[in-house]
């Protein structure tokens, strides 16, 4: 399964729910798989996508929140797994597109290429984790769960063909409006 195919499955499974994408190839593929206002594309802050997802999940407990992360970016913020394990936001689904490489920067191998096991790391930090190696497994893993969940999608690299909007504030406005928290357009109150 290519990352783009896997991303399409996540978009399909998310329905109208928000999806936060890590910068670079995960965000590019999310745009290519299906641009929608409920997509929050990051253009920086490698590693922080899962943390944005945690905050969003806490703010909106009634909404499922999906994060499309990479193996390299999750490795940059492994403490996030401990926080997810502590808080257990049941509405959070963290999909890690594990291509065993820093694909956005030229394909350097990540530690997962040498056996580092992010699913085991998640479990050790009290987060439910499943490995999805096929499209069927990925579809099944997206089902609603009782606890926060990490899905380690084993994917092959697929060169992204498109890039999301560059305007960060546009992305934010569109996203917040789509998920029911529009920023006021005029001054409110006194």
């Amino acid at each position: 399964m290519s990352r783009l195919e896997a991303t399409r499955i996540v978009v399909e499974g998310a329905g109208d729910a928000p999806i936060v994408a890590s910068l670079g190839h995960p965000a590019y593929d999310l745009f290519a798989a299906g641009d929608r206002p409920q997509n929050f594309y990051t253009w920086g802050s490698m590693g922080v996508a899962s943390s944005i997802g945690v905050g969003l999940a806490l703010a909106k407990p009634e909404t499922r929140v999906f994060v499309v992360d990479g193996d390299g970016s999750l490795l940059m913020n492994l403490g996030s797994l401990a926080t997810i394990g502590l808080l257990q936001p049941a509405n959070l689904v963290l999909v890690v597109m594990d291509n065993e490489a820093y694909a956005t920067t030229g394909g350097q191998a990540t530690p997962t290429a040498h056996g580092a096991d992010l699913a085991a790391a998640a479990r050790a930090l009290r987060v439910d984790a499943v490995v999805a190696a096929t499209d069927d497994e990925l579809r099944r893993s997206l089902a609603r769960a009782e606890r926060a969940r990490v899905i380690l999608a084993k994917v092959t690299e697929s060169a992204p063909s498109a890039k999301p909007p560059l305007d960060c504030v546009f992305i934010k406005h569109r996203f917040m409006t789509a998920i029911g928290n529009p920023e006021p357009a005029t001054r409110t109150g006194s």
Binding site: S45, V48, I52, G55, A59, N77, K172, F175
Partner: protein
Amino acid sequence: MASRPAWAVGVCAGLYAAGSRDVVYVPDNPLSHVLAELGEQYGDVRLVLATREEEAFGIAAGLYLGGRRPTVMLQSSGLGNSLNAITSLVLPYQIPMLVVVSMRGDAGEWNAAQVPMGRAVRSIFDAIGMPHTTVDSAAAANDVVHVTGTTAFGTRTAAACLLPRRVTTS
């Protein structure tokens, strides 16, 4: 009920008055008074522990996107850990938050390892274009934190309040 230092009581009242009900923090000794006060006196304020300051800014950004008015609390030494999230997420996306920084490395410091970052905090905030205000006395804490928070959320610009050691150790 333990009595809290006046500056800590003021910080809590100020962030609450600015509409913040979510405080994402990395622990710090003086800030423990703020956390204890929030826990005891502000039952509707959610305290969220982060493992690292950059993560705290990410969580706060997500809270804002979800319609909340987040506060981030950290020690100044953790500012270095936060800079990528501040400069490539919080600032370019114009995600407002109130940032409360407990200072190390300023007057009264005993640990040399805290001094270089402590000295650099204001210059770093200036260099990245993030507004900051210093709480000059315990009596000013409530008002400074309140106004800084209100301005941050009103103008969609993250802004910091610095708490010097001579205030937090008073």
